[in-house]
């Protein structure tokens, strides 16, 4: 597969030396990653990046750090073109179970989010646009408990997009979804990234195939051994496990999952995972 032409511009998200411990026990250690604004000629091309990690490795903690909900024990998260320190609300965060305000109708859920950035009339206009684009318009008066899984998912993503500054973080978005719903979510993610050049979707997942199919950058979280062979506590991202899928020609291709190169790459990743993602320094 040939790599499609692209360029990189300024950073949109920078993780520098992120470490996190709980009661002295390291969960994450010295994580460095940077998401750059990728541009493609003649089109709006947002970013889709993936963080892969096995269950229990600390992905949700990393999500909360990236969303500015908890401060890391060490390191910084900087977001946006201005590379400001992250604060809650700067990064949209769609949690695993797609929470919405159960006491508000779908329309109200979106309005309360849009109200943060826009004046009431403008907020309503933006909400209407999202309701249409996400095929939610007929359900505007429904409470979240009345929405189907797919509708709820779209509503949660729309809500975060309405108030975040281009960055949206999805924690285990494919977990527990059937094939049709995964396809639907993939369509939404592509749609989001083509809405605005700066829109960036960060997928934190243990679904390697779907994440790889969507992403243009991929990072694998794992553990390392020190020189003496002892396991170093705290998951990290080694330089060896940072993949530029755009450069590898695996990004932005329609139906990339059917390509032999994609299958080979996924197999390689699986081998790494089966090896426990334990690396020697």
């Amino acid at each position: 597969m040939t790599a499609l032409p692209y360029n990189y511009k300024e950073p949109l998200l920078t993780l520098s030396g992120i470490s996190m411990s709980f009661r002295g026990e390291p969960v994450l250690r010295d994580i460095n990653a940077q998401v750059l604004d990728v541009t493609r000629p003649g089109m709006n091309q947002g970013q889709v990046v993936g963080f892969y990690g096995r269950s229990g490795i600390g992905k949700s903690v990393l999500c909360r750090i990236m969303a500015g909900l908890i401060a890391p024990s060490a390191g910084t998260v900087e977001v946006g073109q201005a590379q400001q320190p992250v604060a809650p609300g700067m990064v949209g965060f769609v949690q695993q179970r797609y929470p919405l305000f159960e006491h508000r109708t779908l329309l109200d859920n979106l309005l309360v989010a849009a109200g943060r950035k826009y004046a009431p009339a403008e907020a309503r206009q933006h909400v209407e646009t999202y309701l249409e684009r996400f095929c939610l318009a007929p359900h505007r008066k429904k409470y979240p408990a009345h929405l189907s899984g797919g509708q709820r998912q779209r509503a949660a993503i729309a809500q975060q997009l309405l108030c975040s500054d281009h960055l949206i973080l999805l924690d285990e978005p494919f977990s527990g979804l059937d094939v049709a719903m995964i396809d639907e979510l993939k369509r939404i993610i592509v749609e989001v990234t083509t809405l605005d050049e700066l829109n960036t979707v960060i997928i934190v997942s243990h679904d390697i195939v779907t994440t790889t199919a969507l992403a243009d950058r991929l990072w694998l979280l794992g553990y390392e051994h020190d020189a003496a062979g002892a396991l170093v506590p705290g998951a990290t991202i080694s330089p060896r496990h940072q993949y530029n899928l755009a450069e590898m020609g695996l990004a932005w291709h329609q139906n990339v999952e059917a390509e032999p190169e994609f299958a080979q790459f996924v197999e390689h990743i699986k081998q790494e995972i089966r090896g426990g993602l334990i690396l020697n320094n």
């Binding site: 609300g89 179970r97 943060r116």
Partner: protein, 257 residues
């Protein structure tokens, strides 16, 4: 019919209503045809009820007690909500904890203490009821607040809401329907307390005093008649609360099993 005895079954509305009517009829028939020696017959209870209404002002006494109960409930609800919501601030958490534990205090002791603090009989009655209801409501309301998950709070925060705004959205607005349910459940306690308080402080009458008098003179038919009136009033109140919940919080029962 099989569905009535199958675990977690959902019988049709018709079957369920028929079953409830049937159970009520059986109870009524048992009462009519197998009267126990000490238990007054249905006819005696009805006669006594008529007598209580016409000669002893049962309706007026019930109204007096109910207005006092509603007054106490309104004040107690406001106080309990305030104490419970203040648990957001660590400084106030011991107050909520202490208030919750105060439900173990006895009403008799409290009545005496309140009599020293306030002047009129009505004030004594009201303050005891408010105190009693508040401590129970605080217990229920703080439990509701404790059901708030990190996911819910994080969701509000990621929408750019500050801590107070997140608390308001998730805990205050989001759990208002549950708070109403706590009030509904604890309203029954006020009825238990009011009959006792009216007995201890008899200057203002009330249905509790009427019940006490019937008990004292061993008018079991009268006792039963008053109890049934209280039961019916309570059931009606419950119905009103359920109705209020449906009207004001239509989302509250959606998605329940």
């Amino acid at each position: 019919m099989k569905s009535l005895f199958a675990p977690n079954a959902q019988p049709t509305r018709l079957v369920f209503t028929s079953m409830v009517i049937g159970q009520g009829l059986i109870l009524l028939l048992l009462w009519l045809f197998y009267p126990m020696q000490l238990f007054p017959s249905l006819g005696e209870v009805f006669r006594s009820l008529g007598n209580l209404i016409t000669t002893q002002g049962l309706i007026q006494e019930l109204w007096a007690s109910m207005t006092t109960a509603l007054q106490a409930l309104a004040v107690a609800t406001v106080l309990a909500l305030l104490i419970s919501y203040l648990t957001a601030l660590p400084f106030f958490r011991p107050i909520a904890y202490a208030a919750s534990k105060m439900r173990y205090l006895t009403l008799t002791g409290l009545t005496f203490f309140m009599a020293l603090l306030v002047s009129s009989g009505h004030q004594v009655k009201l303050s005891v009821l408010i105190f009693g209801a508040t401590v129970y409501l605080v217990t229920g309301m703080t439990s509701v607040i404790l059901t708030t998950t990190q996911e819910e709070m994080d969701h509000a925060r990621t929408l750019g809401m500050g801590e107070w705004r997140s608390f308001y959205e998730v805990v205050v607005l989001g759990k208002l329907d549950d708070m109403l349910e706590v009030v509904r459940q604890n309203f029954a306690i006020i009825w238990t307390m009011i009959t006792l308080v009216e007995t201890l402080y008899q200057s203002e009458g009330g249905i509790g005093l009427l019940l006490y008098k019937q008990n004292r003179y061993l008018h079991l038919d009268g006792v039963l008649a008053i109890q049934l009136v209280i039961l019916a009033t309570g059931a009606l109140q419950d119905y009103v609360f359920v109705l209020l919940r449906k009207v004001f919080f239509p989302y509250s029962t959606l998605g329940h099993a």
